[in-house]
């Protein structure tokens, strides 16, 4: 186990505790608590708090310059001389920053989850899974070892499977969980191969040593390895062409979505690539692949976010888009620089996206769903959520002075600078960024307009025809638009004779327990960080050139965003739910709701595999039958022998004669 104390006198290094405490909480919860709610919450909370405290301690050490750069985990694996596997955690400023971020988000998620799942029988399992998820992400964040990275990486995938499939009574949840794990696992194969390639080339699994080793010798092998890793990252971060699992993952409880989207799983790719950045900078091919994947993802996802009928899925697509931004931030970094740009955006995104998801979850509980029809006017009806939503969306859109503005602007700035300097990759990135900024502004504006829509009463009339969130399969979505008639502003069907509207009985006021004080406090903390997070660039944790802003560029960006916002506002006028996307063609919206039919592509891809499996299984059955029939064959052969031996003395004599001749011949010819 290595040494259990570090120079600061702690018995265990805080970096170890950051991982260990949430993991311990998960273990304790699974083993001891099982079904009781309160103990489960206490354990999970202690785990999260402990993790946060350890992260804070590490932060203090880092700022004070006393943090140890490395700490042991399970001890080095004895794989010498082939492979040096130190299995150590590495502490640097990024790791510290991210660890704190993850710990904060995890804490808030735990707080909110208790309220959100107040009637869930499997809350204990959920809380434990969230703890484990946190531990896994912290492991990826802190890992300085390829093996540890893979451990955390895959463990997150598994936790996401459990969380997405939490409501396993519903087929949609089961399918979404299956899909999420399978798609990411498919991408994990190249990811693992890529890391294996890098590690075996360097004869070590230590990430820093790998970086040192390969920095000296750029080669096609390195490029291949990096591209494999990038493909893996694309899978986990839901980038093209693996993007489709993420919106489906909305089937999970909202706190789970918040965790997956904000600080953990989808961001893990950025973390790993950030560690490998010095290598990435040296391989233009890999950078090109990355910028293409990320660029396409960010634009496409931004557009799809704008089209979604379900606001939770809007957030999901926005995550894809924002992660694309982070990856662009990695692709454009000049040689010799670190991953500050991307990580800054990661932190900011973690804050506002966690906030948005949790608040949306809150709202969805209040209004009974996340489709536009239900969410319309929600923040008006429930003013407590108004400020939080506003902060979240503003930060997401990148409006000054929010954290999102600072982080996004720095990326745009850098891309512009390098594009001007003639870097091809950065030019692609810049174009993608421009579209992305506009689209982000558009879908944020749209979401706000819907949530802030006035016609709550009119909505009630339409409620009957709108079923609950229909998201995963095409079931419902298409039919929703085909079978339900067009409605006018008041929610009445167009073209029908006016029937006197029977006053709908007001829906029974559902007695929803308001989020407890702790949850709200957590949300406010996130909101605060989403506002002031931009100040992070001033700390020594990030080394970014923030005090020489390109004012012209900022102004242009803001103008673009403003123009888009106005356009969206105009579009939204006169739609039933204040939905700007309502003006889009129905077919486009239904296709967008289905993620451009990517699911169908996945299904089509599995078909030949299943067909092959049937073929192989059939062949194996045949083989088994064949083996069995050899027994019959043996018996048949014996039957032939029995016929030859008919029990007469002559048969025996003939055999003897033949034997004599045979023995004589063989003896003479072979001796």
């Amino acid at each position: 186990m290595g040494t259990l104390s570090d120079s600061s006198g702690w018995p265990v290094h805080p970096s170890q505790l950051i991982v260990l405490l949430p993991a311990l909480a998960a273990a304790v919860s699974l083993v001891l608590v099982r079904r009781a709610r309160i103990p489960a919450f206490v354990v999970a909370l202690l785990g999260a708090l402990g993790g946060l405290a350890a992260a804070a301690q590490l932060l203090a050490q880092q700022l004070g310059g006393t943090a140890e750069a490395s700490s042991a985990t399970v001890g080095p694996l004895p794989l010498e001389p082939v492979l040096h596997a130190p299995m150590r955690l590495g502490v640097d400023r990024f790791a510290v920053l991210l660890a704190v971020t993850v710990a904060v988000v995890a804490l808030v998620v735990q707080l909110v989850a208790r309220w959100y799942l107040r009637e869930d029988r499997r809350y204990a399992a959920f809380a434990a899974t969230v703890s484990l998820f946190t531990a896994a992400m912290q492991l990826v964040v802190l890992s300085d070892d390829v093996l540890l990275t893979i451990v955390g990486w895959e463990l997150m995938g598994w936790c996401s499977y459990l969380l997405i499939g939490h409501d396993s009574e519903r087929e949609k949840a089961r399918r979404a969980a299956y899909k999420a794990f399978l798609v990411t696992r498919l991408a994990d194969a190249p990811f693992a191969i890529g890391l294996v390639l890098l590690a075996t080339g360097a004869h070590t699994t230590s990430l820093s040593a790998i970086v040192r080793h390969w920095s000296g010798q750029p080669s096609t092998l390195l490029t291949g390895g990096l591209i494999a890793v990038i493909v893996g990252v694309a899978g986990k971060s839901a980038q093209v062409p693996f993007q489709d699992w993420l919106p489906d993952a909305m089937e999970g409880p909202t706190p789970a979505s918040a965790l997956i989207h904000a600080a953990t799983m989808v961001a893990a790719g950025t973390v790993v690539l950030g560690r490998l950045l010095p290598l990435l900078e040296r391989s233009d091919a890999a950078r090109t692949v990355l910028v293409l994947i990320a660029g396409i993802s960010t634009v496409l996802a931004g557009f799809l976010a704008y089209c979604q009928t379900d606001l939770k899925r809007l957030l999901a697509w926005s995550t894809v888009s924002q992660v694309g931004l982070m990856l662009l931030g990695l692709a454009i970094v000049p040689v010799g620089h670190r991953a500050d740009l991307a990580l800054n955006h990661l932190v900011a995104h973690a804050m506002f996206k966690a906030l948005l998801f949790l608040v949306f979850g809150w709202i969805s509980v209040l209004v009974g769903g996340t489709v536009v029809a239900r969410m319309s006017g929600a923040v008006r009806a429930h003013p407590a959520t108004r400020a939080l939503v506003a902060i979240g969306l503003l930060s997401l859109a990148g409006v000054p002075p929010m954290a999102g503005f600072v982080s996004k602007d720095l990326i745009v700035d850098e891309a512009a600078t390098r594009a001007v300097n003639g870097d091809g990759v950065s030019r692609i990135a810049f174009v993608a960024l421009a579209f992305s900024v506009a689209l982000t502004a558009a879908y944020c504006m749209r979401a706000w307009l819907i949530l802030d829509h006035r016609s709550v009463v009119e909505r009630n009339a339409a409620l009957e025809i709108v079923e609950d969130s229909v998201t995963v399969q095409e079931v419902g979505i298409v039919e929703l638009f085909v079978t339900s008639a067009q409605v006018d502003r008041r929610g009445r069907e167009v073209g029908q004779p006016l029937v006197p509207i029977v006053p709908e009985p007001e829906p029974e006021p559902v007695t929803v327990v308001a989020p407890d004080a702790a949850s709200r406090l957590g949300l406010r903390l996130l909101a605060l960080l989403a506002v002031v997070g931009g100040l992070l660039v001033t700390t020594p944790l990030l080394s970014l050139d923030w005090n020489h802003p390109a004012w012209a560029l900022i102004a242009a960006t803001l103008l673009l965003m403003a123009a888009v916002a106005v356009f969206v506002r105009v579009q939204s006028l006169g739609t039933p739910y204040g939905d700007a996307a309502g003006r889009l063609p129905l077919t486009l919206r239904s296709v967008a709701d289905r993620g451009l039919g990517m699911d169908g592509v996945y299904v089509a891809l599995t078909r030949p595999v299943v067909a092959l499996a049937r073929l192989v299984a059939g062949a194996e059955r045949g083989l088994e039958t064949g083996v069995h029939s050899t027994a019959r064959g043996a018996r048949g052969l014996a039957g032939v022998g029995a016929r030859l031996q008919n029990g007469t003395p002559t048969a025996g004599l003939v055999a003897v004669a033949l034997g004599v001749v045979a023995v004589g011949l063989i003896g003479i010819s072979l001796w």
């Binding site: 008919n646 029990g647 007469t648 003395p649 002559t650 004599l653 003939v654 004669a657």
Partner: protein, 102 residues
């Protein structure tokens, strides 16, 4: 020194005839005769080489006498068995399958 090939040829003929008799005959006694021919061939072989090889023990001749003796003993047993077979089933045809005891 006399040539070896005439007696050896005779050995081959005797042995072949005996073997043929053994295989072709249905009557057990005739099979017995075939066996005797084969034994005679072996005896002739012994005698032939016993007379050409300088052997102080006169093994060739002695062995021939041995063979004749053994053959006599065999015939005794064989005839007894054949008699038993004849009593048991009324013929001594060796191409008839034996009875099963299951």
């Amino acid at each position: 020194m006399i040539h070896l090939w005439p007696p050896l040829l005779l050995v081959a003929i005797l042995f072949g005839t005996g073997l043929y008799g053994v295989l072709a005959r249905r009557n057990a006694v005739l099979v017995l005769v075939g066996v005797e021919l084969m034994l005679a061939a072996a005896g002739l072989l012994f005698v032939t080489f016993g007379s050409t090889i300088r052997d102080t023990a006169r093994a060739g001749h002695v062995l021939t006498i041995f063979l004749i003796t053994i053959a006599a003993a065999e015939i005794a047993v064989a005839l007894a068995v054949i008699l038993a077979v004849y009593r048991s089933r009324g013929d001594i045809d060796v191409t008839v399958a034996g009875e099963d005891d299951l």
